[in-house]
Symmetry: C2
């Protein structure tokens, strides 16, 4: 009952030819006579022969696997990136091995080591919070020094020379802030995280730049820095008691939506009294009531781009001209802003 996988050796023995002949016949080599090829190919089809991937990988030192290491998978943005990677990679005949670092430096290192010993042809990754805090990139350095191609996306570092894909976070925040300013908003609050995230830092910069460009000053009291991934409506509530903004820019979806909840409970109307724009065009923004105007990061495009850069490098195998592709964010207008 257990149909054992058939190998070249089996076919060779059965048809009384050599393994090499079978191999060549199945590749339609000119070396083999029409007759023999027909016999072998028919037999192979009958028994549904498929070459063993592992053996092929060992032979040509190519696995056709891509290793993807992301901090978290229960996260809309990363999920869209993975989808983009998957689509492009699959179309090129590559498989995607996904590992989660769980925002931990140690897990990131372990995962890289697990995959770096032949399992994959290259890495696509976004740094864990732990790594960004620690600023230790030796595991990345080791991998690139071994000649394994690496593409960093979103959470990147200048310490490593490799291909990168980022979005222009400064521009994104600028666009958002500009839109709020053009609606006539003057007291624009910023909900952000601690600064060690490269993305948050850049978003803060864009916000500040827009304010200054419009002749306003950046006031620290309008900025609320919340701990990463911690949703504490009380802190937001306290913040909104200390100042009364007429608009809010949030560097992520979660902070934005909870800010809206707090505002609504204080009896304020969105967008009549307060406009809200949030980063990340995810499910929450789309389905909230009112739906939230967002800065789209185009994760799927980012994933596709990263996969394209990686596969190109894997197949060209040169190690020069590292590029950084910059994805342009766009603003998606929804109900949480005035939109005239």
């Amino acid at each position: 009952m257990l149909k054992q996988k058939i190998t070249l050796k089996h076919i060779a023995k059965e048809l009384d030819v050599s393994i090499s002949t079978v191999s060549k016949a199945l590749k339609n080599s000119e070396e083999i006579s029409r007759d023999t090829k027909d016999r072998i190919q028919a037999f192979a089809k009958l028994y549904n022969y498929k070459p063993n991937n592992i053996a092929i990988s060992l032979k040509n030192k190519r696995t056709k696997n891509i290793g993807v290491i992301i901090p978290d998978i229960v996260h809309h943005f990363f999920t869209t990136v993975v989808r983009g990677i998957e689509k492009y990679a699959n179309a090129q005949g590559y498989n995607v091995i996904v590992c989660l670092s769980d925002e931990s430096f140690d897990k990131e290192v372990i995962n890289m080591e697990m995959l770096a010993n032949g399992s994959i042809d290259g890495f696509i990754m976004s740094l864990s919070a732990g790594t960004e805090k620690k600023k230790d990139f030796n595991h990345l350095k080791e991998v690139t020094e071994q000649g394994i191609p690496l593409v960093l996306f979103d959470r990147v570092t200048n310490e490593i020379r490799c291909d990168k894909v980022v979005i222009d976070d400064i521009l994104g925040a600028y666009l958002a802030t500009e839109k709020l300013l053009k609606e006539g908003r003057k007291k624009i609050a910023l909900l952000t995280t601690e600064d060690f995230f490269s993305v948050s830092k850049n978003r803060n910069l864009g916000y500040e730049k827009a304010l200054r460009d419009f002749g306003l000053v950046v006031e620290e009291k309008y900025i609320l820095r919340l701990p990463f991934m911690d949703i504490d409506e009380d802190k937001i509530s306290d913040f909104l008691n200390s100042i009364v903004p007429d608009a809010v820019l949030s560097v992520n979806e979660i902070f934005g939506i909870h800010c809206m909840r707090v505002l609504q409970r204080k009896g304020l109307k969105v967008p009549e009294d307060v406009s809200i724009i949030g980063f990340t065009d995810g499910l929450l923004a789309r389905h909230a009531n009112p739906s939230i105007t967002s800065i789209a990061q185009h994760g799927e495009k980012m994933g596709e781009t990263a996969a394209r850069m990686l596969i190109e490098r894997v197949e060209r195998e040169d190690e020069s001209n590292y590029r950084t592709e910059i994805i342009q964010p766009t603003i998606i207008t929804r109900e949480s802003t005035l939109n005239f």
Copy 2:
């Protein structure tokens, strides 16, 4: 500059011993003298030797890779399952190769074939919508006949004999409906999809059973069947014009949250006028305003369970006693119900 990966052969030549000696020394074999082992191990450590995964896979016909095929990754439930699989698998030294079927039968088949030729030790999958509609499971049959272990989760079929993990959807819907009834609700609407999804069908059954147990009749006019993955607030609005429910049970998060939006725009208050319970305890339910009472499907536990069942079977390699583990759903009480 390009540090080539070092192999047993390199070490052997450098230290003037045989490859077998190196291999044994690195495994601390008793056969090799303390002296030689020390030399070899020191050298290996110095040059950071790591055995090549592919070679090992070829030798022991074990890849330590698990293939996961899911319909979509930008979907909170599947994402939590993947996380559960990843955690358990990683802890056991396995890697996870994720493939997306995109709800398409053809892609599901292609993905399985790509992985079935040696790349993985076993499959964990949830059927695509296309496959459930087509009722063609030959690709699954082929794989199991080859002796490749398979675990189905959530969207499963009776046609295939293998391990399965499902949640008790009937119970979940029953619990939800029961809660609404106990709140005194009498006119409970059901938002569901077409019947070919095994999950939706069971949820409908649970809803109907609860109504009957409480002496109510199931009225078709209280049931709205929406196309899969299509969010059309107008249809919901029309539905809510034709009947006036005092509670709504939605078989997924999206329908539920949009139903709430429509109700709110009609001036109805949730939960004062209408209670809402939705399946899938995802981001939307958690962060909505008001937050939505949900049936938690415990995706992470499901993933863990599936991974455990698969790895056990891979490592025991027997082919009997297929089990179906049933995850118990639980109700998570939030703001969209009365909760007394």
